[in-house]
Point group: C2
Chain length 261, copies 2
Amino acid sequence: MAKKGQLPANFKTVLEKGDQIYQPGISVDCTIFGFHENVLKVLLLKVNHSNKWALPGGFIYKDETIEQAAYRVLNERTGVDNIFLQQFNAFGDPHRSDPTIHQNRYLEYGIKIPKGNWLLQRFITIGFYALIDFTEVDLEDAKRTEGAEWIDINKLSDLMMDHEAIVLKALEALRTQLAYLPIGRNLLPKKFTMPELQKLYETILDQKLDRRNFQRKMIGFGILNKLSETRKGGAHKAPFLYTFNDKKYQKALKEGLYGSW
Amino acid sequence: MAKKGQLPANFKTVLEKGDQIYQPGISVDCTIFGFHENVLKVLLLKVNHSNKWALPGGFIYKDETIEQAAYRVLNERTGVDNIFLQQFNAFGDPHRSDPTIHQNRYLEYGIKIPKGNWLLQRFITIGFYALIDFTEVDLEDAKRTEGAEWIDINKLSDLMMDHEAIVLKALEALRTQLAYLPIGRNLLPKKFTMPELQKLYETILDQKLDRRNFQRKMIGFGILNKLSETRKGGAHKAPFLYTFNDKKYQKALKEGLYGSW
């Protein structure tokens, strides 16, 4: 690969002193799910000069917690902030790391990472996930520097290393969460119809649900207020509008949808 | 501290070559919950020559997965095998490690761990948990070597470092699991009464439950077979016996207690 210019200062630091300023052999990776109008996407970064995509990830400073590292890395790499991240799994296959990714990044500047350098070792990564409304995130800043994009969860391809497996495991964690915790308050408009709520669940679960069962179950949770208004304008009978009952929604977030024993 | 004899070979290897054979700065710790006759305990090891207790834990070889390390470490340190371990959280406070624990272990042999040695650095630990019947584990072998004991969950004291916080977080994960997955098949006799099942839940949740609600909920899950037999011999009206319906129990383990959407 051609030499493109001088090695940036942060690249030099990571190469030469990374093992002194970061925890060795460990990283964090963030799976940010975005939902909007019945589409579920995931936030990915184009790996420079390759056709591969990567989760926003990075190293852990010696003086920060894993959680602090996850928030910092996500912000540094995508500009995204104020998202509640949940740790869900550590990924530690001994062969998951691909040293050529770091190698290629440095080769662009004509630098070959020396054998034995910490960047070329095995990394265990700790996975975090979040679910947000992707229209509320402005990726313009990020796009300029890192090529951040929202990619449809059903159109994942060419993810580097084990990042597709990480996304799928995060999706599993999200679906488990859906089974016992409320969801949707930041993903739907303030007033929504039962079909809209059902679509949210169907999109995350990637399956069709029975309309009557869903409605019965949802109303049974007691987290919704039915309004007297209806959504007008459709071809069908105008469906009723609902809002989340804030207090009961918060309670269910703590105790689970099925309440206490 | 007095010099007690020659440094064992494995201590020497860990000290001198540990950073070459293990992943640096990372460990695993296992929280093994044991239930029997309405008592919930946790498997702890007495830290040599101290009043502290520790979770069974250890390092990750460079060529093994995190899961392999957890099973190996648990077996090496307690003799326990064939337990299904679940990863639940990574603990990474920058100040969680206590280098004096390793230091004291080596000082018993008159060895001072040199400054900068990998054992004295910050460790991130990945937590696993399991719930078993503690009468099915023979700790005799373990007791001879490491002082493994089942300690009542309500009588935890003097755990080293952040191990009590790890146990409490594992308990939280177990209680969350209880809210949407079946439990008890390996913890109760094959035939059991509803009060016995309720006691299991009450013990894990550490709270009294309403008898009628509990029964209605449990029967609603459809995972129990009610037998025509009753448990005789008590002072009260003989309660009916139940067994788990294997097929439905397995289904609920996959799909959750509340079934599919």
